[in-house]
Symmetry: C2
Subunit: 137 residues, 2 copies
Amino acid sequence: MTSEKTLKQFNLRITKIRIAVLDALSASPAALSYSVLQDALSAFDRTTLYRTLLTLTDHGLIHKAYEENGESYYARCFGCTGQDHHHEHLHLKCSSCGGVECLEISEELKLNLAQLPFEEINISAKGPCSSCAIQGG
Amino acid sequence: MTSEKTLKQFNLRITKIRIAVLDALSASPAALSYSVLQDALSAFDRTTLYRTLLTLTDHGLIHKAYEENGESYYARCFGCTGQDHHHEHLHLKCSSCGGVECLEISEELKLNLAQLPFEEINISAKGPCSSCAIQGG
DNA sequence: CTGTTTATGCAACATTGTTGCATTTTTAGT
DNA sequence: ACTAAAAATGCAACAATGTTGCATAAACAG
Ligand SMILES: [Mn+2]
Ligand SMILES: [Mn+2]
Ligand SMILES: [Zn+2]
Ligand SMILES: [Zn+2]
């Protein structure tokens, strides 16, 4: 689905930066850091990017996949609606290339997590990502 | 064990700020945010606090329990050695009081996590903490 | 006590988070 | 297509944190 249609579906106004952010995150297999987004979207003011990321996160179109040392990584959400981000997956920070990816987890683990009495649960891990593991490291 | 002895045990030099940080984190049942530590240790330069937190983390005496929107929470480590932080527990950010606490997890969940091929795994959650849940909220 | 090693304090700068407000853009209604 | 209302953007401004270099002070081994 095109970014315009997605925005419309979520009752959000269609603006250039929102389309650009959604396009960028949709096109990337890995999560993108704030600084990378900033560079890619340098045509826009960084405050606008800041608020765009807030808006898209609040409405469940994207999510913050990882945060460390003040560096945040964002990824496209699939299946999230409104405030209800249900990330039944894991966020892996590659110890080799530094990339961040969203990974599916086992059904068993999902069940375990679902039993915990919390509103929101996130798992993050460090280790070789799929690409780096193949090439050895 | 006293903070001095702990430092000696880890082959770290005994300095005022290291003792102060260890004392503060050992005394608190919840993790302490950077800003709280900063305020409590305002006698020291913030660069020194920054480097102290790095050093104590690197040697496994403390760990970063939670990070969000550039705010980091630190907690005393028990059973961690050197770079090998093995946090078989969960970090809960209270949706009511905002406090962060380290919680034990079930053996079953530990086993599930242990099967994942990663060097380090962290779980964080949001929801009412033990104190706030009692009082209702 | 003394020399060596290491930590600290300070300056400096980069990055990010965050808010207010005037201006521009988007949208819905005509 | 035109217009008014609602919302988003750009810009300024400031706070907080991350990060490094370097001179000075403190810790430690002998
Ligand atoms: Mn994700
Ligand atoms: Mn912990
Ligand atoms: Zn990688
Ligand atoms: Zn609480």
